[in-house]
Amino acid sequence: MPERKSIGILFDRVRWEEKELGRQLEIRGVPYDMIDAKTQVLPLDGSEFSTMPATILERCVSFYRGLNLSSVYEAHGIQTINSSRILDVCGNKLLTSQILAKKGVPTPRTVVAFSSEAAMQAVEEVGFPCVMKPIVGSWGRQVVPIRDRETAEAMIEMREQLNDSMQTIFYIQEMIKRPPRDIRCIAVGENIVAAVYRYSAPENWKTNVSLGGHSEPCKITPELEETILKTVKVIGAGVLGIDLMERPDSELVVHEVNGTVEFKGAQSATEYSIAGRIVDYIMSERSRMQENGPIIDN
């Protein structure tokens, strides 16, 4: 029987981040498995889980794949970081915004609607300009500024014609008059390990590093720290990428929380290894679980 490794990294596509996490585990002498999510075949009542690492860091690019695999692992006593509950909330913008708004974390005003007929009412409720986003997805895809009624009608009609039930869930958010940047904070457990400004690439209003934006260090002010720690409290501690915008009066609003955060951009503006901090956290969480036993609630 193969040796049971301490840690697993669950992936479906190895990016810079997953390689860096592996390097940091090697530096610490921690045996680990790279687990390809695409090759997993898991009888739900089987014993295959007993040879798997007791703690798995979920790093899938595919939200649904990572979420559902984490649920299976957790049901068999494997600790997953992030937990499936955190992944579920973070992977769905509607659930994220709902929990932030309900728990009093400053967040852009958001209205949701569930049919093409109701979508225009949601747009009017938020007012122009606003932003239409898919509730699942990342890297700024299908995030569209809506500056007038004609654009709203065109977007609603286009989404209706895609014949995908997810596309008729309309998530309409106020457009924040922010500077040409947002703030990406990486919270590991209850600590902020990185904070960077992300500037949009020329000719692009989106700040995603994947779209050519760049990162610069951001000072962690008391307000930023308070907002981040409050977000961690309501979402749950784990490895989180928390994105914020600055209103014209400098108030910070959280617009997104990422459950499988990419941090290559943030690393370029951070002195120490973000992957190293993540690895130290999962090792400490593993020790904590070994002392207290697994939490099985599925």
């Binding site: 992936f11 596509r13 190895v14 390689k19 390809d36 939200f63 699942v136």
Partner: protein, 57 residues
Amino acid sequence: METKCLECDAKVHVEDDAVVGEIVTCPDCGADYEVAALDNGTVAIKMAESVKEDWGE
């Protein structure tokens, strides 16, 4: 390490520190491949998955 593009037969360079699951791109035709296996300096590749709606962070 080097291998050949499955589409256009061009040479595809794979870094020595590559790991299984990493993506390499054909410099000629732009096809994306996933490193499928590594064995003593040889590399096997397979077509990479295309981007899906739920991909992201």
